[in-house]
Symmetry: C2
Subunit: 555 residues, 2 copies
């Protein structure tokens, strides 16, 4: 091989060196691609190099926890300056690697549970944040300028050839492995078990270099389970307004829901309140959504035609298996989720995103970043943004676009409905409406170029609180928009500072609508409207197929 | 199985019925999953049902032509009312199925070569268009409300178990198969050959139902090859302006190029003009792009660090294999493309899209739809739209966002550069600038709800013609924007109707920049600047590795 050619296959050569080191160090510890669990540190020391970009799999559901712990236990004198790529920072070991000097740089999407410690590590200089992304954006960079050199992934089972079965929680695995395997990187998978034959193949063996059976099954959290017992009557009222004032108004057939109790209440009102309005078959037919247990009654009532999922949800396995007309399942009967494709679907094939937030400012910008916490965005920016590349029409999309453009000399275009649903005060009486987002101060503290906004005001179409719905599509000036927001901000300082006459004018024009304007009888807004009032009701609705995790078995 | 359960697995039951019919009809014509080519009509008659949603694979590169022909030859008395889902309408048989009454509805993305006949079929009532999409949007709907019941796909090779090797032209296959196989649909693959072992597995056998070896290799077109001999000196001048006035100005490191001669000229000026400006390592480092032969000199000069591709390009196979540090290749050395993931990457991980169009109006809206031709959009709307879900920063993105927001009280946000690069007159002296897009009239004729706009003026940041660059980010009113566009529209009627004083004012403010304003010596704008002047030069630059298709071997 000439010198010139050599210069163009350094990655392949380096990959071969890493594999040779692994085989030389491990020798008897390797059987084909299968590495003994006890030798994982040796394997990682052999294949990693300082400065590597390392993708550690873990979303807010399944976690490559065994590999993550092993990574955090490596010798920082040998392996250091790693650049970590992670969808989610969820477990202590995800930050231990920085604390111990093994890694120094981080590109990620979400860090809910570790947001405080993450902020402290940034302040201490031990952790340098590249950027915070929405999931699909982070996956996208894996193919452009953040391609992983080594990926540490997680699957349910492998066969001896290295084929992987990821089953219901396929999640991020396909996108990560594709980016790594096809750029001469190294893919190491932890698996719960090694079987002779797999129920189906989710990742072909030729994409995988090493497989290790972890001593215990991978860590996984039921993050999308909401106990109906905790839904308040205010949330029932807000859900009624959402259904009558937005879902019915725009004929929203394809959608994504956030993960809070607000949207769980909507799910539980579909077979009762929405049904009573004659909306079955007209709204909420196709979903990009994890298999929320709260959706069971709506599925059973025939409201829901299809659900494609980012990941799965613990306890929903048998229910999904018994409802294959609704969910995406493989020939083995278990679900195939795929976060990259479901995020694309949420962006391009849904007419509405509705979710919650922590703070909203007077322009409608919202953020979950609060002081001292670098929390990240998850999927919200992708789904809570107008999909400006979209070209197919639907009644919802056309109507939103018309409302935004009425009276303006603009090329006709549809628009995605992006609804922020918040009570005016959140926990500990913190106002959800603020003059200035904490994100500004956080940006200063963490040296970010711009404040970490989750959803921009420009993209929000409606704000829904217990006081009513503000339709921002119909606002024609910054002032109108500000008063529309103040007009649903209740007794917060922002709400109290409203211009009452202007707010009444906005209400006359239908820009602000109260429950009574929508013909909603507030006396009906009781928990009796919920199709399931507690976890046991959900199990019953599922015909006993839903098997809630222990912590939710509260009856 | 109880009655209640039965209602939830109709798709699986129906799938089993279809498979049973196939096995009963074909009997000896099937060996495992492998169907004899001569029995393809029997197979299709057996597995299809009237009204099915059928995805026929074919992008503007590889085509499932054997299956497409077989479909068009079916008996319309047995198989009719099909709803076709297709990335591209490229071959006559794609429309024959409508002409013959086998299919009646179409959702698609692009129809370049068949656009005229498509329009006539719409007019005759034989073909009902669901919608025109951008590719990623169409794939997204496969997981939400347009899931295929049967997919007819194409691969290079299969093994006897049904594993598929799609090799360099993997393209749309993974997204199509995943949506179909995991919703109890049927996947039939045509392959060029059946081998005992595959170079690698691109699609696992458990996702594939039938494999048929086509009598001749699948049809594939080299659509991204531009002969440098056809690049004009005006295009060289425009490329110089692009490089100095946009690439350098914004430090554009990650990008996508359109497929015209305009952008091919830019590719060929990187190792010469851009190099002379000291831009190597500063611009055009990471690409979401098919392997354009015109990029070879820039790759050889070390300008290009990585290229991820939607599909491949005929003749580039050996060159790609020898440059694995740049391209995404598998362990077998051949490329893995993936249109869905590359479109996501183009949307979220690129700072700029630059491409051409046929018509631009006074608001900057552009369209390739012209009267009597329903042409579709391809990938342009996805990449030529501001990615509003993006949250990571780069110098280019931040600068564009700052320019758009300067002096406005808006939350800081970056913005994607979307550049339309056109000569003021296109072929046959048709003006590229018009008062009103043909898309309006086409929408009326075809009964579309809104005109088929490829890229909206709201998303365009720069328009570049031989007369100069109009920076629309800096415009602060509709009038300024209109005059900025007129100011680069040359001798078209739109250009001649400019307000000269206002245009000069825009030029003083840097909103319009001419070659001389950029310090570009027009005398240098000759073909001598091209790093390759013809196909032979490209072959030479590749060290003989690039092997152009016959029709381009013009020396």
């Amino acid at each position: 091989m000439g010198a010139r050619e050599h210069a163009w296959n350094r990655q392949q050569g380096n990959r071969a060196d890493r594999l040779a080191r692994a085989h030389s160090v491990l020798a008897g510890g390797l059987s084909g691609k299968v590495c003994e669990a006890g030798r994982i540190a040796d394997l990682l020391h052999a294949v990693l190099e300082p400065g590597d970009r390392v993708c550690l799999e873990g979303n807010n559901q399944k976690q490559a926890d065994f590999l993550g712990k092993a990574l955090a236990g490596l010798d920082p004198a040998r392996i250091n300056q790693l650049h970590m790529l992670q969808s989610v920072i969820a477990l202590p070991e995800h930050l231990d690697v920085f604390e111990r000097g093994i890694a120094s740089r981080l590109d990620f999407s979400f860090s809910g549970p570790q947001a405080g410690r993450l902020a402290r590590l940034v302040a201490s200089g031990k952790l340098n944040i590249g950027a915070i992304h929405t999931y699909l954006e982070l996956f996208s960079r894996y193919f452009i300028d953040l391609t992983p050199r080594v990926s540490l992934i997680v699957a349910e089972a492998a066969d001896r050839a290295g084929n992987l079965y990821t089953g219901p929680n396929t999640e991020d695995t396909p996108a990560i492995v594709e980016a790594t395997a096809f750029k001469s990187g190294i893919v190491i998978a932890q698996v719960n078990r090694i079987d002779d034959t797999l129920p189906r193949v989710d990742i072909p063996a030729s994409w995988v270099d090493f497989v290790v059976q972890s001593p215990s099954p991978y860590y996984i959290e039921p993050l999308f389970t909401r106990d109906p017992a905790q839904i308040s009557e205010i949330q029932v009222l807000m859900a009624m307004m959402a259904i009558k004032g937005i879902y019915a108004e725009y004929e929203v057939e394809r959608l994504n829901h956030g993960i809070g109790f607000d949207t769980a209440a909507i799910e539980l009102l579909l077979p009762t309140y929405a049904q009573s309005l004659g909306l079955k078959g007209k709204i909420a037919r196709h979903w990009a959504l994890n298999p929320h247990p709260a959706l069971i009654p709506a599925i059973e009532a025939g409201f829901v035609e299809s659900v494609h999922s980012f990941g799965s949800e613990l306890g929903m396995e048998e229910y999904i298996r018994a409802r294959p007309d609704v969910f995406f399942v493989g020939p083995d009967g278990s679900m195939r989720s795929n976060r990259a494709l479901c995020q694309a679907a949420g962006h391009y094939a849904c007419d509405m995103f509705i979710g919650s937030t922590l703070q909203i400012d007077l322009q409608g910008n919202s953020s979950t970043a609060t002081l001292g916490r670098v929390a990240g965005f998850g999927g919200a920016p992708n789904m809570g943004a107008d999909a400006r590349g979209r070209r197919h029409v639907s009644p919802a999309w056309l109507k939103a676009g018309r409302q935004a453009r009425e009276g303006r000399n603009l090329m006709p275009r549809g628009q995605k409905l992006v609804v922020q649903m918040v009570e005016t005060f959140r926990e500990h009486m913190q106002p959800a409406f603020v003059d200035r987002l904490d994100a500004w101060q956080l940006a200063e503290q963490a040296g970010m170029e711009i404040p970490p906004v989750m959803i921009y005001g420009e993209d929000v179409t409606h704000i829904l609180t217990e006081e009513g719905i503000a339709n921002l599509l119909l606002c024609r000036s910054d002032e109108e928009r500000e008063q529309a927001i103040r007009g649903v901000a209740g007794y917060t300082a922002v709400g109290l500072a409203r211009d009452k006459r202007m707010v009444e004018n906005l209400r006359d024009r239908g820009i602000i609508r109260r429950a009574e304007d929508l013909g909603i009888d507030k006396r009906l807004a009781t928990r009796d409207l919920l199709a399931a009032k507690n976890m046991k009701d959900l199990v019953r609705a599922s015909g006993g197929l839903y098997d809630p995790p222990k912590r939710f078995r509260n009856w």
